[in-house]
């Protein structure tokens, strides 16, 4: 687990960046550093992506390094498998997490298995990146949070940053990583937060959670945009004298179980927050691991706060009754403290 404070100090220059800018910066550095890195997908080239994360990169690095492709997720992911076989490190973009399903077969059956199936002859060190998450009133499927489909798929890593600093460092780590990584970029966080980010190359290790708040009473485990949501509730709780250990997992696979157990052993009370639907969401796996490895530390039932078990609806005026909000997390904190 890395505390926010433990950030590299070797970097002299930093710049205030949004997460979007930090990601652009990371992709730019990766293209510069490793000529095996190529980027492609729908609209990533000329336009720089619908969220403009690859803006300017084609102009700078050329069409051979970053380019637009036919509109097919199974094609984008399937060809990336082949590109790996001739030595590339494709960093492909899907336009939204909700369109990953059209390429999910290639992820489950091939990206995840190619190395195992060929016993090391063929690797798939690609990164599949996409915007995901709710809160912007876009169209249906533009708000899905499909991480649990991936955590159940062996052989891949799943990264979901919550800050500009982490986004850049995790992206560079993901591109370096020899295993395939699916990289979630929260659409609400792209431009809502800014922080100081080193301008140079650095990595944040995959598999290490970040402690956002330190406290003794309740552990909140979360990732992505829900870190902000939980933070709001946690700060209010802290003002009311409740100590919150807020863990931002940063990567849900590999999972930093040590960090989770350490915190749970201290607080004995756990709230898990995620944007995806409740049932069989990744929160279930976390709760199961706690019930296996730290059962007797628990002083209260584990509470999960998650989207209802429906599609992430496009009923803009009322979605906040379903998607986790700070008030829902506050209710969960109350609940976990009341037993």
């Amino acid at each position: 687990m890395t505390l926010a404070a433990e950030r590299p100090t070797t970097e002299s220059t930093t710049k205030v960046m949004t997460m979007a800018a930090a990601l652009t910066d990371a992709l730019d550095l990766a293209l510069e550093r490793d000529d095996k890195v190529v980027m492609y997908g729908e609209d990533v080239g000329v336009m720089g992506g619908v969220f403009r994360i690859t803006t300017g990169l084609q102009g700078k690095h050329g069409k051979a390094r970053i380019f637009d492709t036919p509109l097919t997720e199974e094609g984008i992911i399937g060809t990336a498998v082949g590109m790996c076989a001739v030595g590339y490190k494709p960093v492909v973009e899907l336009q939204f997490g909700g369109f990953m399903y059209a390429g999910l077969d290639q992820i489950i059956s091939h990206v995840s298995r190619y190395r195992y199936r060929s016993r090391g002859r063929w690797n798939t060190p690609m990164v599949i990146r996409f915007p995901y998450g709710g809160g912007l009133n876009l169209l249906e499927q533009h708000h899905d949070s499909p991480e649990a489909y991936l955590t159940h798929t062996p052989g891949i890593k799943v990264v979901i940053p919550s800050s500009a600093y982490d986004a850049k460092g995790l992206m560079l780590a993901a591109i370096e990583d020899p295993d395939p990584v699916v990289f979630f970029e929260n659409i609400k966080l792209y431009r809502s937060l800014k922080e100081e980010v080193p301008t140079g190359y650095y990595t944040v290790p995959l598999g290490k959670a970040r402690k956002v708040l330190e406290g003794d009473d309740v552990t909140i485990i979360t990732w992505g945009a829900m870190v902000q949501t939980s933070l709001e509730a946690a700060k209010a709780a802290q003002q009311a004298g409740i100590g919150i250990d807020l863990l931002d997992l940063r990567t849900v696979s590999p999972l930093d179980l040590d960090a989770i157990l350490e915190s749970v052993e201290k607080t004995g009370r756990v709230v898990i927050v995620h944007e995806a639907g409740l049932t069989s969401g990744f929160g279930g796996e976390i709760a199961a691991l706690i019930a296996e490895h730290a059962l007797f530390s628990l002083e209260a039932p584990i509470v999960r706060v998650a989207h209802f078990d429906t599609m992430h609806s496009a009923f803009n005026p009322i979605n906040h009754f379903s998607r986790p909000e700070p008030t829902h997390v506050a209710d969960a904190i109350k609940k976990v403290l009341s037993s």
């Binding site: 729908e42 637009d68 509109l71 097919t72 078990d309 429906t310 009322i318 379903s322």
Partner: protein
């Protein structure tokens, strides 16, 4: 290998309003119907574009410029037929009978806009590109099995033709000789990606040969041509001759959605050229005027009519009751499972908390 034949782009009405194939011009009543519908749906699109600028819409996929393509095809259908629309098919949906009031509410994310009326054989609008084609194939196969004289029609963008579902759907309907009409609305762009990136082939309707079904290349800005070919495909389907694939060459003059800025990928000249030289509405008006069945008075009356209708639709949409949050858990299942019942309780608590706040 023998040479490929060169498909000709089917056109009845040239951009300047002159007629290429006089023998194929339908009766003037039909022409006027098509014209009125184009004006009506285009006005809808214009108004939604400006409502969006005032932040009074959610994200909306504009179809302006494609009104001939959408109206001409949808109006080839009859009661009992089905449509499987995509996000850009709002014009086709309205021409098919979707109330503008509901369309406005749909694009605002109001649950009552999402409720598809019982009488309307319109499948849900599909956002994930391509999926609508297997649905249409399934509807068509079912209609055939029931011996009904009806058809399923679906639309896809030229970008969408690269998807696996495009192939699975067209091939299925072809293989099962099902009454489906698949329409490629080739508007030149898939957001920022030009047509040429999608495929090496010159015309996507060439794929029809590979499925063993008729393929048509049509001037998608000529509502008479679109309507003629769509009607032929529909009638063939009704007559048990199976599926067809139509490519309608058109253009999206607007941003991809209300959130897009086309300056990032194309010149304004391109859109202006279209508006000046290929505008689907203008050419029919010119033709009708030449034929002396249309004049400025009629045009003014039509304008008033569509304005009035839209104003009433908008007012009704604006006045729709604030949605009940309980809609979030309705229709999740017919017989809700226990976990959904537990979530209903949580929802009730949240509703109560807000009411008491």
């Amino acid at each position: 290998m023998p040479e490929l034949y060169a498909p000709e782009m089917f056109q009845i009405l040239a951009p300047d309003g002159t007629v290429n194939k006089p023998e194929l011009v339908p009766d003037m009543e039909t022409v006027e119907k098509l014209y009125r519908q184009m004006v009506r749906v285009r006005f809808f699109d214009d108004r939604l574009a400006s409502l969006a600028k005032q932040n009074k819409m959610g994200t909306y996929a504009l179809f302006g410029g494609q009104e001939a393509s959408q109206v001409g095809s949808a109006m080839a259908l009859k009661p009992g037929d089905y449509i499987a629309p995509m996000y850009r098919s709002t014009g086709a949906c309205i021409a098919f009978g979707w109330e503008p009031r509901l369309a406005i509410m749909y694009w605002r994310g109001h649950p009552e806009g999402w409720r598809i009326p019982d009488h309307l054989n319109m499948l849900p609008i599909i956002i994930d590109i391509g999926a609508q084609f297997p649905h249409a194939a399934g509807v068509a196969m079912g209609l055939k099995m029931q011996g009904k004289p009806n058809v399923a029609m679906s639309w896809i963008g030229e970008g969408g033709t690269s998807q696996g579902d495009f192939h699975a759907g067209v091939n299925w309907a072809a293989a099962t000789d099902s009454p489906a009409v698949f329409i490629i609305e080739n508007n030149g762009w898939a957001i920022s990606v030009p047509r040429a990136v999608q495929s090496k082939v010159d015309y996507l309707m060439r794929r029809a040969d590979g499925y063993g079904i008729p393929g048509y290349l049509v001037d998608g800005n000529d509502v008479l041509a679109v309507h003629h070919i769509a009607s032929k495909a529909v009638e063939d389907a009704r007559a048990g001759k199976g599926a067809s694939l139509i490519e309608q060459m058109t253009y999206r003059i607007r941003p991809h959605t209300t959130g897009d800025d086309p300056k990032a990928y194309r010149t304004e000249d391109e859109a202006n050229d279209y508006i000046t030289n290929k505008a689907p509405i203008d050419r029919v008006r010119k033709f009708m005027t030449d034929q002396k069945v249309w004049d400025e008075d009629r045009e003014a009356a039509l304008k008033l009519e569509v304005e009035t209708e839209f104003a009433a639709s908008l007012e009704a949409a604006d006045n729709a009751p604030t949605p009940d949050p309980r809609a979030l858990l309705e229709y999740a299942m017919v017989n809700p499972a226990p976990h959904l019942l537990r979530q209903r309780e949580i929802l009730e608590q949240r509703i109560k908390a807000v009411e008491h706040a």
